[in-house]
C-alpha cells in the first residue's frame, strides 16, 4: 500500500471521533480550544479597540482633519478640500459675556452648522431627560453647559442674551459630541447655530475668534493633502490630523491592554504545555494502533498522514469551538468595559480568527510535533513483542521545537522581535535552571520522605514514604510532571499577582478623598482668606500653587520648532502658553528622576537671579525643573536651556532636574517649576484642589459667595468616570485571569490523565501485595501532594523573578517581594494537585487488580 490511503480524510475523521472516548484526546482538545479561545478573545478585543480608538480620535477632534485660524477660511481652500473627497463642517469659537436679566457670565461660545457633528452624538437634556442628539442646536436656539445654567439660573425654555441677540435655551449639554475642546477653556460652554452669529454683533475686527473647518473623509483623502497641510502649517494655520493626534490610551487602559496581551500569551503557553503532556499519552496509546496498522499493511507515510490528518481535524474542530468561545469572550470583555470603550466599536474582523486557527496549528505542531513523529518509527513486530517501543524523542528536541514555535507566536502577537527573543532566551535559561532545580528538589523531598519514621500500618507517614518512593521510581516522568505543574502554577500565580498589584496601584491612585474640586484664579490678596475658608471645610486638599502664564520662545537659543524632533513640532507645549509655578520643595506626588532639586543650591544664589538681571541687563540662567514626559517628547535633557517669554520679559532657564508625576492624580500638576525668587514679580494667581463630600453643597455655596472672582471647577463627574473605568477594567482583568486559571487546570488534567495507566499498574501491584483501598488512596494522595508541593515551590521562585522583571520593564510598577506567595503556592499546589489527582484516580482504586494490571498491557 502506498502512502496514499483511499478516503484518508474520512478515515482520519472517523478515527478521531472514536478516539474522543480517550482521556488524552479530550485533554488535547480542551487545551487547543483554550489556546484558540484565549488568542482570539484577546485578538478580537484588541483589534476592535485599536480600530475604535482611531474612530474615537476623529470624534474627539470633531473630524478626521481640523483646520483652525483666527480669520475666516477662503473659498479656494474649501473647494480644494471638497474636491479631495472631504465633507466640511464650519465652526466658530470665541469667549463672550452672556446675560440673563441682571446676571452676566463669561461663556465659551461654539457656533456650529447643519453638518455638525461628523461623528458621534451629543447628550442633551431638552426638558425630557437626557437624550442623544446627532446635530447642533437649531437656529434661534442655544444649548448651555450645566454650570452656565446654574450660574444664570437657566432651565430649558428660558431666554438669554448673547451680544445683541436673544435666544431660547433649548437644552442643557451633558456631553458634547466632540468634547476635546471642553476643558480647554475654563468658561462654561454655550452652543449656538453659526447662522445666528452675525445677529449677535460679536464678530468685530479685533475680536478673539477662532474659525475652524472640520473635515471628515477617508484616510487616503487626508493623506493626499499632505503638501497642502504642510503649507498651511507654515502659514500659521493649526492643523489637527487624526493620524497624528490620536489620543493615547489612558494609563489604566494601557496597562490593562498589556495585561491582556500577557495573560493571553500565558494561556497559550499553558495550553501548549497541556498539549505536550497530552500528546505523550496520545502517542503511547497509539503505538499499538500504529503497530497493528503496520501489520495490516500500512506504510510509514500512511501512518504519518493518518495521524497528522486526525490531529488536523482535532485542531480544526478546536479552532471553530475556540473561536466561538473567543467571540463570546470578547463580547463579555466589551460588556464589562462599556464605559472605557470609545463610542461603539467596529464589528469583529476576520484577522483574529485566522490568528486563532494559526495558533491552534502552531501549538499543535510545536508542542506535539516531535513527540508525534515517534509513531512513524513503530515496528510491526511490536504486536508480538510489546517491549519494542520506539525511543521517545529527546527532551531537548521537544522543548527546542516548542520554544521556537512559541517564540514565533510571541513575535506574531507582540510585533517585537527583540522582546520575543529576550523572553525566549530568558525562558529557555529558566527552564534549564528549573530542570536542574526540579531534580534537586525532588531528590531532597524523597530523601526527607525516606527518613520519615518507619512504622507499620497504614498511617500518614507510611503513605508519604510509599508515595515518595513511587515518585522516585518514575524519576523522569515525575520530573516532567513537576515541571509542567510548576510552569502552570507559575503562569497562574504571575497573572494573579500582576492583577493584584495592578488593582492596588489603581486604588492607591485614587483614594476616597481624592480632590474633586479645583479652584483657580485665586488672587494673591485672597490667598490667606481662601486657605482659611478651606481649612475648616476640607481635610484633603493640595497646597496653593502660584501660576504665571509663559510661552517657550527658544530652546538652547534656537526657535523651538527647529530645536525639537520633527514629530514634536506641533506639540501643544510649544503652541500655547504654559502654566508656570515656583516652589521651594518638591510637590506632593512628584518624584525626582534626574538632576537635583533647588534646595541643594545656596539661598544666596537663589536670591541673586533677578538682581543680576537688573544689575547688568543680561539674563542669567535660572535653574528649572521639568516634567520628564515633556522632556522626552521635546528631546530635552539636563543642562538644556529654555527661554520663556512672560509678559514683556524673557527668562532663560537651565534644566537642572526632571520629575516624574501622575497626570491622573487630580492635583495641580506643572510641566515647569521655578525656584522661589524668580516669578514673583509677574502677575500671578493661585490654584488648588480639594475634596468636598458630595453632600457638602453649603461649603461650595459659601466659597462662591465669599470669593466671586475665584473659578470653582467640579470634577466629581470626571472622577466618578475614572473610578468607573477602573472598576470595569478590573472586572475585565478578572475575566481574563479566569481564563488563565482554566488553562492551568487543563495542564493538570492533561498531565494527570497521561500518568493514569502507569499509576493503575502500580495500584494493581500494591493491591496484589495486599494494600487496602485506604492505603492506596493515601499513597496516591501523598504522591500527588508531594508533586504539588514541589512544583508550588518552584513556581513561587519563578513567579517572583518574572513578576519583578515585568514590573521593572513593562508595567511600570515598583517591584516588591510577595511573601505570601511562598506559603500559599506550595500549599495550594499540594492541595490542588492532591485533590484533582486523587479524584481522577478514584476509578483506578475501584478496579480489580487483574483489570488494572491488564490495562497496561492492552492500551
Amino acid at each position: 500500500m502506498s502512502g496514499r490511503i483511499p478516503g484518508a480524510m474520512g478515515l482520519a475523521w472517523r478515527g478521531l471521533r472514536r478516539d474522543l472516548r480517550a482521556g488524552d484526546v479530550r485533554a488535547l482538545f480542551l487545551a487547543l480550544v483554550l489556546a484558540v479561545a484565549a488568542a482570539t478573545m484577546i485578538g478580537f478585543f484588541l483589534d476592535r479597540l485599536e480600530r475604535g480608538l482611531t474612530r474615537q480620535a476623529g470624534q474627539l477632534l470633531g473630524g478626521d482633519l481640523v483646520l483652525e485660524q483666527s480669520r475666516p477660511f477662503d473659498a479656494t481652500l474649501r473647494a480644494t478640500l471638497e474636491e479631495a473627497g472631504l465633507v466640511l463642517s464650519d465652526q466658530v469659537d470665541m469667549v463672550s459675556m452672556v446675560s440673563r436679566g441682571e446676571a452676566f457670565q463669561p461663556a465659551s461660545l461654539k457656533a456650529v452648522d447643519d453638518v455638525y457633528p461628523h461623528y458621534g452624538v451629543s447628550r442633551v437634556d431638552r426638558g425630557e431627560g437626557v437624550e442623544a442628539v446627532a446635530s447642533g442646536p437649531g437656529r434661534g436656539r442655544v444649548w448651555v453647559a450645566p454650570r452656565l445654567a446654574l450660574l444664570l439660573d437657566l432651565a430649558p425654555g428660558d431666554r438669554l442674551r448673547v451680544g445683541r441677540a436673544s435666544f431660547a435655551v433649548d437644552g442643557i449639554i451633558e456631553r458634547e459630541a466632540d468634547p476635546s475642546a471642553g476643558f480647554g477653556s475654563f468658561n462654561p460652554r454655550l452652543m449656538m447655530h453659526v447662522d445666528d452669529l452675525p445677529a449677535t454683533g460679536l464678530v468685530q475686527p479685533g475680536s478673539r475668534i477662532e474659525y475652524e473647518i472640520l473635515a471628515a473623509g477617508p484616510a487616503e483623502a487626508v493623506a493626499g493633502l499632505e503638501p497642502l497641510l504642510e503649507r498651511l502649517r507654515r502659514e500659521g494655520v493649526e492643523v489637527h490630523d487624526v493620524r497624528r493626534d490620536r489620543p493615547r490610551l489612558g494609563s489604566a487602559l494601557a496597562r490593562a491592554d498589556r495585561y491582556l496581551s500577557l495573560a493571553g500569551l500565558a494561556a497559550v503557553l499553558l495550553a501548549g504545555v497541556a498539549v505536550a503532556m497530552a500528546t505523550r499519552r496520545y502517542v503511547e496509546r497509539h503505538l499499538d494502533t500504529a503497530a497493528l496498522l503496520r501489520c495490516f499493511g500500512a506504510g510509514q507515510q500512511t501512518l504519518v498522514r493518518l495521524f497528522a490528518l486526525q490531529l488536523l481535524w482535532l485542531a480544526l474542530a478546536a479552532s471553530v469551538l475556540g473561536a466561538l468561545l473567543g467571540l463570546a469572550g470578547q463580547a463579555a470583555l466589551l460588556a464589562l468595559l462599556t464605559t472605557v470603550m470609545p463610542v461603539e466599536l467596529p464589528p469583529p474582523g476576520l484577522i483574529p480568527l485566522w490568528l486563532g486557527v494559526l495558533t491552534a496549528l502552531a501549538v499543535l505542531g510545536g508542542f506535539a510535533g516531535p513527540t508525534l513523529l515517534r509513531l512513524r518509527r513503530v515496528s510491526a513486530l511490536k504486536v508480538l513483542r510489546r517491549e519494542l517501543d520506539p525511543l521517545p524523542p529527546s527532551a531537548w528536541l521537544v522543548v527546542g521545537v516548542a520554544a521556537a514555535v512559541f517564540g514565533a507566536l510571541l513575535w506574531l502577537y507582540s510585533g517585537d522581535p527583540g522582546l520575543s527573543l529576550a523572553l525566549l532566551v530568558g525562558g529557555g535559561l529558566a527552564l534549564a535552571a528549573l530542570w536542574g532545580l526540579g531534580g534537586a528538589l525532588l531528590a531532597l523531598l524523597l530523601r526527607l520522605c525516606a527518613r520519615l519514621p518507619q512504622r507499620g500500618g497504614e498511617g500518614a507517614w507510611q503513605a508519604l514514604r510509599l508515595g515518595g518512593r513511587q515518585l522516585a521510581r518514575r524519576r523522569s516522568t515525575s520530573l516532567s510532571q513537576l515541571l509542567a505543574f510548576a510552569v502552570a502554577f507559575f503562569a497562574m500565580a504571575m497573572i494573579a499577582l500582576v492583577r493584584g498589584d495592578l488593582l492596588n496601584a489603581w486604588q492607591a491612585q485614587l483614594p476616597e478623598d481624592t480632590p474633586n474640586h479645583f479652584a483657580i484664579n485665586i488672587q494673591p490678596g485672597e490667598r490667606a482668606a481662601f486657605e482659611a475658608a478651606l481649612a475648616g471645610a476640607s481635610e484633603a486638599r493640595s497646597a496653593l500653587y502660584p501660576m504665571v502664564r509663559g510661552r517657550i520662545t527658544a530652546i538652547d537659543g534656537r526657535p523651538p520648532r527647529e530645536a525639537v524632533p520633527e514629530e514634536a513640532r506641533g506639540d501643544n507645549a510649544l503652541r500655547r502658553e504654559l502654566n508656570l509655578t515656583w516652589r521651594e520643595t518638591l510637590p506632593e506626588g512628584n518624584r525626582l528622576v534626574a538632576g537635583e532639586w533647588f534646595a541643594a543650591r545656596p539661598p544666596a544664589a537663589q536670591r541673586g537671579w533677578f538682581s543680576a538681571v537688573e544689575a547688568d541687563g543680561r539674563t542669567p540662567l535660572v535653574p528649572i525643573s521639568l516634567e520628564d514626559g515633556l522632556a522626552e517628547r521635546l528631546g530635552l535633557a539636563l543642562g538644556d536651556t529654555l527661554t520663556f517669554s512672560i509678559g514683556s520679559d524673557s527668562i532663560v532657564g537651565e534644566v537642572t532636574s526632571l520629575r516624574d508625576l501622575d497626570w491622573d492624580s487630580f492635583r495641580p500638576n506643572f510641566y515647569v517649576i521655578f525656584p522661589p525668587g524668580v516669578l514673583e514679580r509677574f502677575g500671578h494667581s493661585y490654584i488648588t484642589a480639594f475634596h468636598l463630600d458630595g453632600s457638602d453643597r453649603q461649603t461650595l455655596r459659601r466659597l462662591v459667595r465669599d470669593f466671586p472672582a475665584v473659578t470653582l471647577l467640579d470634577v466629581e463627574a470626571i472622577l466618578a468616570r475614572v473610578r468607573e473605568v477602573l472598576t470595569q477594567v478590573t472586572r475585565a482583568v478578572e475575566l481574563v485571569l479566569g481564563f488563565v486559571l482554566l488553562a492551568g487546570i487543563s495542564v493538570l488534567y492533561a498531565a494527570l490523565t497521561a500518568s493514569l495507566p502507569v499509576r493503575a499498574h502500580e495500584a494493581g501491584l500494591l493491591r496484589v501485595f495486599g494494600a487496602s483501598n485506604r492505603l492506596l488512596s493515601r499513597v496516591q494522595g501523598a504522591e500527588f501532594a508531594l508533586l504539588g508541593l514541589a512544583s508550588g515551590l518552584l513556581a513561587a521562585l519563578l513567579a517572583e523573578l518574572a513578576v519583578a522583571g515585568l514590573y521593572w520593564s513593562w508595567l511600570d510598577l515598583p517591584p516588591r517581594v510577595h511573601w505570601g506567595l511562598w506559603a500559599w503556592l506550595p500549599l495550594g499546589g499540594a492541595l490542588t494537585v492532591g485533590v484533582i489527582g486523587h479524584l481522577l484516580s478514584r476509578g483506578l482504586r475501584r478496579q480489580a487488580p487483574a483489570a488494572s494490571l491488564g490495562l497496561l498491557g492492552e492500551t
Binding site: 500500500m1 490511503i5 478515515l11 495490516f296 500500512a298 510491526a380 508480538l384 483489570a851 492492552e858 492500551t859
Partner: protein, 238 residues
C-alpha cells in the same frame, strides 16, 4: 489428515536456510538457523515449541514483521529480502490476517470499529456491511457497539477472528490464539477458527503449544533448537 497439498502448486510461503540471530552486547544469540519451510495455499500448519523456542520470532519473520539475519523468504511469490519495511507492509495489505494471544483489540474502539480497521485501510466501500457480517458469523451480531472491556476474553478473541478474516485474507497467522483463554472457551475459539478457515479457503499458520489445537491442523512442525521437524498431526502428544 494427510499432506494432500501437492508440491506442484507453488507455495504461498517459502523459507529456505532461514536464520535469526540477535546481538546482545558482545554475545550473539542464534534463535533460528538453517530453517526450511513451505506452506501451500489452503493448508493449515501448526508450529509447536516450548516457551522460548523462538516460535513468535519465526512467526514475525514469516509474516514479514521482522527481517531475517540470513536465508531466503518468499511470501506470495515475492522475495521479502528485496523489500524494505514499507514494501513488506504493502505486500501484507488486505492479504494477510492476524490473530494474537492477547487479542490486540484497540480499547477505545467498539467491536465493529476494531473489525473495520483493516478494511478502512484498503478503502473498501462495503466495509461496514462486511464487518457486521463477519461479526455475525462469529456470533457477536448483538455486541457490535461494545467496547473490548465490555466483552469476555473469548468474545474479544472472536472479534479478533472476524478482524483477521474480514479482508478476505489469503493467509492468516495466529500466535497462541487460545493462550489467554480457559480450555472450554479455547475449544470454541478453535472451532470457529477452523470453520472460518474452511469457509474462506484460507491458508493458516499458527504457533502454539496447545497440542489439541495442533492435532486439528494439516501439518505439524516442531521448533527445536532453531530448526523445524515435521510430525504427523495425529501423533502429536500421543
Amino acid at each position: 489428515m494427510s499432506n494432500s497439498f501437492s508440491a506442484d502448486a507453488s507455495p504461498i510461503l517459502h523459507a529456505a536456510h532461514l536464520s535469526k540471530r540477535v546481538e546482545s552486547g558482545e554475545r550473539s544469540l542464534t534463535i533460528l538457523s538453517d530453517l526450511d519451510l513451505s506452506v501451500f495455499p489452503g493448508e493449515s500448519v501448526a508450529i509447536l515449541g516450548q516457551s522460548g523456542a523462538g516460535k513468535s520470532t519465526l512467526l514475525g519473520l514469516l509474516a514479514g514483521l521482522d527481517a531475517p539475519s540470513g536465508g531466503e523468504l518468499r511470501l506470495f511469490g515475492a522475495s521479502l529480502a528485496a523489500l524494505d519495511e514499507d514494501g513488506r507492509a504493502r505486500l501484507r495489505a488486505g492479504r494477510v490476517g492476524f490473530v494474537f494471544q492477547n487479542f490486540q483489540l484497540l480499547p477505545t474502539l467498539t467491536a465493529l470499529e476494531n473489525v473495520l480497521l483493516p478494511l478502512e485501510l484498503t478503502g473498501d466501500g462495503e466495509a461496514p456491511a462486511r464487518a457486521r457480517e463477519w461479526l455475525e458469523r462469529v456470533g457477536l451480531g448483538e455486541r457490535l457497539d461494545h467496547l473490548p472491556k465490555q466483552l469476555s476474553g473469548g468474545e474479544q478473541q472472536r472479534v479478533a477472528l472476524a478482524r483477521a478474516f474480514v479482508t478476505g485474507a489469503e493467509l492468516v497467522f495466529a500466535d497462541e490464539p487460545t493462550g489467554n483463554l480457559d480450555p472450554a472457551t479455547g475449544e470454541r475459539i478453535i472451532d470457529t477458527l477452523f470453520a472460518l478457515n474452511r469457509e474462506a479457503g484460507t491458508t493458516l499458520v499458527l504457533v502454539t503449544h496447545d497440542q489439541a489445537l495442533a492435532r486439528r491442523c494439516d501439518r505439524c512442525l516442531h521448533l527445536v533448537a532453531g530448526r523445524l521437524t515435521e510430525s504427523d498431526p495425529a501423533e502429536v502428544g500421543a
